[in-house]
């Protein structure tokens, strides 16, 4: 017994100094209100950076302000917060950002729900579709036209509700079919515009023992994502209010042939990809693509980072997945979208941050290069090599691009597309019938709109 006691005492003795070292803030909060411990640290940092930074501009009072930022990021975005901090410290040394970075797909919505109970952070970074979810709650602030004007007009429409714009779209991802350019050239395939042309390539692939598609269906989100791509070109391009009609009971998944076609393309992919796709993760899938095991991959720009990580000389292009009518457009998805709180006390400081984000071109290029994404600011050109850029430019020049936010606003992601994707997975695996899969989507009609 004594020995044991001794060891406990010894351990405690050893631990106490460690705690004293770390616990500077740990003891304090026991008496002080919640905000204090967190606010201390950034203040110190700021002081050290202030000295040789240029003086703050007129519209900031010079008083030290700390803004809270909730950033819902994709993994490709993680790290941009440091770049922003650095640029901000140069332009407005009195403003400090307190970042809370979470995964957009899993944690952004719960965090927003949390903060709607307790008060929003000053700045939120999400995706364009978030505007439609949160703006109607009356919690988002309008963005000043001065900053919006520095961005491209194309992305503005879908973050504008009743004439007021609540989101500043910073960059975009392109979605479509990534293809191995060298392989296409060797086999004499040209970019398919129609389903028949695509089928011909698939057949040729199969004949030559090449997997037509790389895919990673273990990630249900990827099924949901490509399904929306299909729906954009086969449904929403003809009928931009399909979702509204769906909720009004005019159309349904069980009856609408075009929507069913969009679902059926999943089967086309599934039948022409590796049998182990439900066990293949994105990184492995992308690796197979790069190593020439597959010819095409329906995906988005987030794959570019992976491709180039594995082989910086991998030569790939992009084309929109052909629809029934042969007039598919390349899809772009506004990615980083900055929203502000309607009730923030620091509106001036928020505007300073927006000023840096939209005005600092060096920062913009740095971020675009880092995330390998396309700019949504005017007159900014990233310098990273993107083999698929030539294709993107061509579609953009011919006005053959379309914003997927349209579809995501008509049929929301969380609770609807996401759940439908699970049914599609079950259908592909043969666990439920196609009719059941459609019926399940129809039954979810109440969850199909954000409001």
């Amino acid at each position: 017994m004594k020995k044991k006691l001794l060891s406990v005492v010894l351990c405690t003795a050893m631990l106490v100094p460690t705690l004293a070292g770390c616990g500077g803030g740990a003891e304090a909060p026991a008496e002080t209100p919640a905000e204090t411990p967190a606010a201390e640290a950034p203040a110190v940092e700021e002081a050290s950076e202030t000295e040789d930074a240029p003086a703050a501009e007129a519209d900031s009072s010079g008083e030290a302000v700390t803004l809270t930022v909730l950033a819902g990021q994709s993994t490709t975005d993680a790290g941009i917060e440091e770049m922003i901090d650095e640029a901000l410290a140069k332009a407005y040394p009195n403003i400090t950002l307190e970042w809370e970075c979470v995964d957009w797909g899993n944690d952004f919505q719960p965090k927003m729900q949390q903060y709607m109970q307790s008060g929003l952070p000053d700045i939120m970074i999400g995706k364009a579709q978030d505007v439609a979810t949160y703006a109607p709650q009356g919690i988002l602030g309008e963005i000043d036209a001065q900053y919006l004007d520095r961005g491209l007009d194309a992305a503005r429409q879908n973050v504008t509700i009743d004439g007021k714009t609540y989101g500043l779209v910073y960059n975009a991802l392109y979605q479509g079919v990534y293809y191995n350019k060298d392989m296409f050239a060797e086999n004499g395939w040209s970019v398919p515009k129609t389903q028949a042309e695509l089928q011909a390539i698939i057949d040729d692939c199969n004949a030559k023992g090449i997997k037509p598609f790389a895919s990673h269906m273990v990630d249900t989100w990827s099924i949901g994502n490509v399904t929306m791509q299909f729906a954009m070109n086969d449904v929403f391009n003809n009928d931009p209010t399909w979702g509204d009609k769906f909720r009004a009971g005019e159309v349904s998944f069980a009856d609408d042939k075009m929507m069913q076609t969009a679902y059926q393309y999943n089967k086309l992919i599934y039948d022409n990809t590796y049998p182990e796709t439900f066990s293949t993760e994105q990184t492995d899938c992308d690796a197979k693509m790069v190593m020439g095991e597959a010819a095409m991959k329906v995906s988005g720009s987030w794959s570019i980072q992976n491709f180039l990580d594995i082989d910086e000389s991998f030569n790939f292009g992009i084309f929109p997945f052909p629809n029934q009518t042969g007039d598919s457009k390349l899809i772009f998805e506004p990615n980083i979208t900055i929203m502000t709180s309607a009730e923030s006390e620091h509106q001036d400081a928020i505007n300073c941050v927006l000023d840096v984000l939209t005005g600092d071109k060096e920062l913009a290029v740095e971020i675009y290069d880092y995330t390998k994404t396309a700019p949504m600011l005017k007159d900014v050109t990233p310098t990273f090599t993107n083999p698929s850029q030539a294709d993107i430019d061509e579609y953009a020049a011919n006005n053959m691009i379309v914003d997927v936010t349209l579809g995501n606003n008509q049929l929301v992601w969380g609770g609807f597309q996401e759940e439908n994707a699970k049914d599609i997975a079950a259908w592909l695996q043969g666990d439920i019938s196609f009719e059941d899969c459609l019926a399940a989507s129809d039954a979810r009609v109440d969850a199909s709109s954000a409001n």
Partner: protein
């Protein structure tokens, strides 16, 4: 005197009582309250809908299948984990050398967070084990997370890998406190090793068995972390547990009231199971 003592006793219970009430019971009450509303988790309005959420639950096929998965997972875990943990404990207690080394090997996985365990097994099943097929030229299906038919088996393997060592330690501790003279006496009476196991070991272990069975069952019914970084409830909904379903409904689906009804149902079910188990197992203990 008695009153004064009671006051002092009360003062000892009080802090824990308050913390527990605020941290867990009040949230539970809130959940019960939300479960009769159609709240989306965001807006200020929480419209009262009576028992509508509960009525909808009965018709909800997804919720039923989540329950079905959770029940299968729980039964599988309770049986496999108990049996293997006990077997391992007996084996380690049989006088083999370097017992400490084995103990550590079995125990280390449970030091790893469930989130990480899920992730590790995702990699094991999809990358590492298929490679063994290639090495040996065999054709075993290791892609357990890849199909609705095998995902349960895969998760059971992951979960058992993580927890067997933990329960084994408890059984081992129990075994080592069984007085050796009981075995000696039985040996003298001519009882074989198997008869000794069932007539002495098992009854003597009854308290440990109660702890393990209840612990494993209630733990498995609450499975969530393990799924987050592995199957994410898929493929399809094949591995969606009740809590996972609750979470996606309440949060991603913005149906907080409905999700709350799900969690209330789960609490009730857990209570029921625990009461039955404790009653049943305790009565066995007395007989022994």
């Amino acid at each position: 005197m008695e009153k004064k003592l009671e006051k002092q006793y009360f003062a000892m219970v009080f802090p824990g009582f308050v913390i527990f009430t605020i941290g867990l019971i009040i949230p539970l009450m809130l959940a019960v309250r939300y479960s009769v509303t159609s709240w989306d988790g965001m807006s200020k309005v929480k419209e009262f809908v009576g028992l509508q959420n509960y009525i909808n639950l009965c018709k909800d096929a997804d919720f039923r299948s989540a329950w079905w998965f959770t029940i299968k997972f729980t039964i599988g875990n309770t049986i496999i984990q108990n049996v293997l943990a006990l077997l391992f404990a007996v084996a380690l207690d049989s006088g083999i050398k370097a017992q400490k080394l084995y103990r550590t090997a079995f125990f280390v996985p449970c030091l790893i967070s469930s989130i990480i365990v899920g992730f590790v097994w995702l990699k094991m099943f999809s990358n590492v084990l298929p490679e063994i097929n290639e090495l040996l030229g065999t054709n075993i299906n290791f892609l357990l997370f890849g199909s609705g038919r095998t995902v349960l088996a895969g998760l059971l393997i992951a979960n058992n890998w993580q927890w067997i060592g933990y329960w084994m330690l408890i059984y081992l501790a129990g075994l080592q406190s069984v007085p050796a003279d009981l075995y000696e006496a039985a040996k003298v009476d001519g009882a074989g090793p198997i008869s000794r196991f069932f007539n002495i070991t098992i009854p003597m272990l009854a308290p440990a068995i109660t702890i393990c069975v209840v612990g494993i069952t209630t733990g498995s019914l609450k499975v969530y972390d393990l799924l987050v970084a592995s199957t994410k409830g898929g493929p399809g909904r094949a591995s969606t547990s009740v809590i996972y379903q609750t979470y996606t409904t309440a949060i991603n689906g913005r149906q907080y009231g409905y999700g709350s009804a799900m969690s209330v149902t789960l609490v009730l079910a857990l209570l029921l199971v625990a009461v039955i188990q404790v009653k049943g197992l305790k009565s066995k203990e007395v007989q022994a």
